[in-house]
Amino acid sequence: MKMIFVRDTAYGFRLVFVCIFACALMFIDHSFEQFRFVRGSLSTLVFPAQKLVDTPIALVRNFGGFLATQQHLFNENKKLQGTQLLLQGRLQKLEALEKENQHLRDLLQSGAQVAEDMSIASIINIDPDPFTHQVIINKGKSAGVYQGQTLIDAHGIMGTIIAVNDLESRAMLITDASHAVPVENLRNGVRAIAVGTGGATLELRHVQKSLDIVDGDVFVTSGLGGRFPIGFPVGKVIEARRDHGKPFASITLQTQAKLDRGGHVLLIRNQDYIKRERINEKK
């Protein structure tokens, strides 16, 4: 017989059990790096849903290119050729400089700067949880993406890969509140840590008031800690305040990378980092 007024006393017990289990899961996810692998492989399960949402959006985007007029394409092509020429001109000089730099480093007997190789990936058009700043990228373990890899766009550092599975990977953006990058001032080499605020900006933590940082200074990655490659732009100072009541200066950076615009990203393979991780694994 079907009961309408069911009053099951097991509900409370079940709830307590589930709550304890959920709390344990959250604790494990938060505290253990190793769990990321489990999570990465589990998220293959939800890949179809992501693909389902992404496909029509990508299709519409591509269709726009399909419908573009010849005049438009012609103009765009001309512009791109101009930009390419300009960039190649700069690159010539850069190569000479790189060689010179290497030579000077040899003279100083300091370690050689490793070259990084990059690969292109594109962002899958979905919105994850609004609390966290994350993007999903269409390349995974099978394309050589590894956890801890750095993500950049044409203007600067975008974020770090935090979970990988075979087909795709999840990256945390630098504006996420739990993301930090070691940086240095391009103008005078002052070092700091740039931490995400959870909003659209970054802040420098624990900066002494006497340090020379002014509006408009550009901060690049310092490479300390070995996770991020050296010399990529991170942010530009938009506000440098030194309040009397506070022990440290409060410095706000605007990201150089265009984080809110979807499209293509570059993944940097940091050979040094990979080598060190392998050594750590062997230990």
Partner: protein, 164 residues
């Protein structure tokens, strides 16, 4: 009414959740991201209220875990939230049927706000700063969306002849 097999019922309910998941991850302008109605919580409330023989605390927990994988939240946070929402709705479900529409509005808003509160606490515990006041607007939007959601879901339920 024909009685469906239990596994089929679960599959059909799960299908509606998958649809909600897809709607929840469609990209929107970041300025409006907090205005999105919390469809997953709304679906949980609906199914617990209308299909309590199948959908309950453990089901909510499982669905929440899948959503955590999809959205990149702390693994288990949505699971915990949906389990608690399922429990609350179970106690409210008979009253929910006789409420007038404005009373329903308030109850749904409070339930979604409760779901948001749990997630906000979890986020605060792991160090993400709390969002601004706009965060709570989502529960109002959810309550506004409830009549539409419940109409769509009840026609879905009727068309599949899912009965409690």
């Amino acid at each position: 009414m024909r009685k469906n097999k239990t596994s089929v019922v679960y599959l059909q309910v799960l299908l509606s959740f998958v649809f909600a998941f897809c709607l929840m991850i469609i990209p929107v302008n970041p300025a409006y991201k907090w205005l999105r109605p919390d469809l997953v919580t709304l679906l949980m409330i609906y199914w617990v209220a209308n299909l309590p023989s199948h959908v309950g605390i453990v089901f909510g927990f499982m669905v929440g875990l899948i959503f955590d994988l999809l959205s990149g939240m702390l693994f288990g946070s949505m699971g915990l939230t949906l389990a608690i929402i399922a429990f609350l709705t179970m106690n409210l479900r008979l009253r929910l049927r006789i409420y007038r529409s404005w009373q329903k509005f308030i109850v749904i808003m409070l339930l979604v706000a409760c779901s948001q509160l749990i997630r906000l606490w979890i986020q605060m515990l792991i160090g993400h700063p709390p969002a601004n006041f706009i965060y709570w607007l989502s529960s109002v939007m959810s309550a506004l969306a409830w009549p539409i959601i419940s109409t769509v879901l009840s026609s879905y339920q009727r068309s599949l002849r899912l009965a409690a």
